[in-house]
């Protein structure tokens, strides 16, 4: 059996800013199906997450499965909540999370 060298392009990296975070920040663009090596700040070791979606440069991916309505945690703090269920490795952005602040639209009849 021949050993297949990993494609360097496939080695994607991401940063998890705080150990409590449920999202990771991709470094550069991401391709569906590729493995992402995630560094957790302040911790040793690497977490590997498979990308479920194509991601634009530096966007976020889910570190674990997130239920609809659950808070999205980055920097160890809440940055919004999930507007639908999000699976591990999925793109996390305005299509599936929403802000709780400055929402004058929610005040209207």
């Amino acid at each position: 059996m021949t050993h297949v060298e990993a494609d360097p392009q496939a080695m994607m990296r991401a940063l998890i800013v705080h150990p409590d975070d449920n999202v990771a920040n991709l470094i550069g663009p991401g391709k569906q199906g590729h493995q992402v090596s995630c560094v957790v700040e302040g911790q040793d070791g690497i977490e590997t997450i498979e990308l479920v979606d194509d991601l634009p440069s530096n966007h976020k991916l889910a570190r674990r499965d997130i239920q609809a309505g659950e808070p999205i945690i980055k920097y160890g703090l809440t940055i919004g909540k999930a507007s639908q269920a999000i699976g591990r490795g999925q793109h996390v952005h305005i299509h599936n999370i929403e802000s709780g602040r400055g929402r004058g639209d929610l005040n209207r009849e």
């Binding site: 940063l15 920040n25 980055k74 703090l77 802000s99 602040r101 004058g104």
Partner: protein, 389 residues
């Protein structure tokens, strides 16, 4: 670690890092006269704007305070206030009177009294030449970092902001505060969602309450418009860059504050107190309005941290731009000074932070920014409270 810079010590104890003759336009109708003089006489800086007339009282007071704050900024060695009519509440003589308290030379040119804009241009041109002769004999002196007010701001943020360049600004802010200096941040829109962190970092409960009051006021104003903040904040370019919510943008923006306590909070364009440490000002997230407030607050230099790249440059407060986004550096490096994108390749924060710190002090000592070289005078904008009347 460097602990000093070379600047122009002013009569009131402030230290300029530049030695300009400032041309301060009292009202929009004096702008072209200011600009003609600025294009004719070396070492002059024009401050032009669309305000100063038909404003409600709180706005007029804010315009007045902002213009006076620029006249008092130590990067101005001398000031010429140029005005059109007499505008109650924002009068050229009153601006000059306040600025003169610093001890620097101040002159007033009134377009109507001069006999029109052409005569006023001639009069202001002569004055600018004479003031240049008067102030440019001054030599730089070595002073400690306790004489520095370091402005911090960010714009065109993306996901790299909170992870790289904003943290370098925070690192530099920490070093300046450790040396006794003052750091001045702002951008209340980008404090929304960061209330818990503000409570932790404020030196006293009173400072925290003042800041939380600014946030509440801003959020109330947004809600009163009946609109969704999304699309305006985060802006379209923030969202394209991967920032999903204002809370995410805020927490990334607050990385610029470093790790030191917040010692005070001031209103828009108010001059900060003398205590060393981190100060914060009530400004919107809008870059030009925010950095104009900071310049009026007394900052000599500004680090503007940007994800997408930026041309922003205040005319008087020397503005250096940095990014941690390598793609933005390659696209927009011609109007930025520092690249810290190697943080994503493993460069430790200490190293990238020190690179920024050294560049800031080099610029204080006289090294020209790209914005200065290009005379990219694009970021003077006064925040408004109400409608024109």
């Amino acid at each position: 670690m460097r602990d000093s810079f070379y600047g122009y010590v002013r009569d009131d104890g402030q230290v300029g890092i530049r030695n300009y003759v400032l041309l301060l336009s009292g009202t929009l109708y004096a702008n072209p006269t200011c600009e003609r003089v600025a294009h004719t006489v070396q070492n002059t800086i024009p401050i032009v704007h669309p305000l100063g007339r038909c404003q409600i009282a709180p706005d007029l007071a804010q315009t007045f305070r902002t213009l006076v704050g620029h006249g008092m900024n130590p990067n101005a060695a001398a000031v010429i206030v140029i005005d059109h009519f007499k505008e109650a509440g924002c009068e050229a003589d009153a601006i000059a009177h306040e600025v003169a308290k610093t001890g620097k030379p101040v002159e007033v040119v009134n377009i109507r009294n001069a006999g029109g804009a052409v005569q006023a241009t001639a009069q202001a041109t002569n004055l600018a030449v004479e003031l240049n002769r008067k102030v440019t004999g001054q030599r730089r002196e070595r002073v400690g970092l306790e004489r520095l007010v370091y402005g911090i701001n960010c714009g065109t943020s993306d996901v790299t902001s909170g992870l790289s360049h904003n943290r370098c600004v925070g690192w530099t802010a920490d070093r300046i505060i450790e040396a006794g200096g003052r750091v001045l941040g702002a951008e209340v829109t980008e404090m929304m969602g960061g209330e818990a962190l503000i409570r932790q970092k404020a030196k006293t409960p009173a400072v925290a309450e003042k800041l939380l009051g600014y946030i509440e006021k801003m959020e109330h104003e947004i809600l009163a418009c009946g609109v969704d903040l999304r699309g305006s904040q985060p802006t379209g370019d923030n969202i394209a860059g991967g920032l999903s919510t204002i809370e995410e943008k805020s927490l990334g923006a607050m990385m610029k504050w470093g790790t030191k306590p917040i010692v005070g909070a001031v209103d828009y364009a108010e001059r900060i107190g003398g205590e060393g440490g981190l100060w914060l000002m009530d400004t919107p997230g809008h870059g030009g309005e925010s950095i104009t407030g900071i310049a009026a607050g007394g900052a000599q230099i500004m680090s503007f941290a940007t994800g997408g790249g930026h041309t922003i440059n205040h005319p008087l407060m020397i503005t250096m731009r940095l990014t941690g986004n390598s793609e933005s550096w390659s696209r927009m490096g011609e109007t930025m000074e520092v690249n810290v994108s190697d943080i994503f390749d493993g460069t430790p924060l200490d190293q990238a932070g020190e690179r920024l710190f050294n560049e800031v002090l080099d610029i204080c000592d006289g090294k020209m920014t790209k914005g200065e070289a290009l005379r990219e005078w694009n970021a003077f904008a006064i925040t408004r409270c109400g409608p024109s009347v």
